[in-house]
């Protein structure tokens, strides 16, 4: 898994590639926490190249959404890969997260 983060004035865009599973979810969570601790309350997660998402990764997404909502921020998902969509649908969480077909529309939603 690789994560690159680009910070803007009002939000951060995090691009994740590879697998988000039990072996990588701690690293995924740390990367998100680092962005939040840096002062960003709005995150766009670009998931176009995520080829595997398991419950470990979903747990991080659910917890992050909850924490950001509490502090007046939000997380949005952009360019969901088919695999990500499939995991979200199986878990019944496909309607929980705001998602956009591309990064630009996700960024523009803020």
């Amino acid at each position: 898994m690789e994560i690159t983060t680009k910070e803007y004035k009002r939000l951060a865009v995090m691009t994740v590639t590879g697998r988000i599973d039990s072996a990588t979810s701690a690293e995924f969570e740390t990367a998100i926490q680092t962005v939040i601790e840096g002062g960003k309350r709005n995150i766009v997660l670009d998931m176009a190249d995520v080829d595997f998402l398991s419950s470990s990764g979903l747990r991080v997404l659910v917890t992050t959404r909850k924490d950001l909502n509490k502090s007046g921020g939000r997380i949005t998902l952009a360019q969901l890969s088919e695999r990500v969509q499939e995991t979200l649908a199986i878990a019944g969480l496909d309607v929980l997260f705001e998602s956009f077909p591309d990064r630009e529309s996700a960024i523009a939603s803020y």
Partner: protein, 151 residues
């Protein structure tokens, strides 16, 4: 006269792998399941679903069964046949039946619980699931059927 249709007889192919119970090995197991699922003629969506189920089951074995990484092995066997793919996962951890453990269904309208998603995903990703325990070994059997129009 017997007419043989091409593809009617599908050879049964099987694979077998034993890995240490470490989380990074789950990807290795998924790669094996991916190849086995292709041999079984599962479509892409079904292929991913069985990989997901196996990953969730293995994470449970490592974290909850063995109580952590490096404490035991996971044995994986697959069999592809005309109906689809069967996967057996075996371990020597403490007894745990994922087919009977209660699961909280997440509710998108409320704040869903972050826990319990693994078992939910495991059960929803396969067509059939069976647990057995014999001589100190747990075995979980997972089935994923081919769709009727899969080639």
């Amino acid at each position: 006269m017997v007419t043989l249709r091409v593809g009617q007889l599908r050879a049964m192919t099987s694979r077998h792998l034993t890995v240490p119970g470490n989380l990074e090995e789950i990807e290795t197991i998924c790669n094996l399941v991916f190849e086995a699922a292709r041999e079984a003629g599962l479509d892409e969506r079904s292929n991913y679903a069985i990989q997901l189920a196996v990953a969730e089951a293995c994470e449970n074995i490592i974290k909850h069964g063995y109580g952590g990484e490096g404490r035991g092995a996971i044995d994986v066997q697959t069999q592809a046949d005309r109906e689809g793919l069967t996967v057996w996962l075996s371990d020597t951890a403490a007894p745990f039946d994922p087919t009977r453990h209660p699961v909280n269904k997440p509710s998108p309208r409320d704040d869903p619980p972050a826990g319990g998603l693994g078992l939910l995903i495991l059960r929803r990703s396969v067509d059939k699931l069976r647990y057995s325990r014999r001589r100190g070994k747990n075995t979980l059997r997972l089935w994923k059927h081919r769709k009727a129009d899969s080639t």
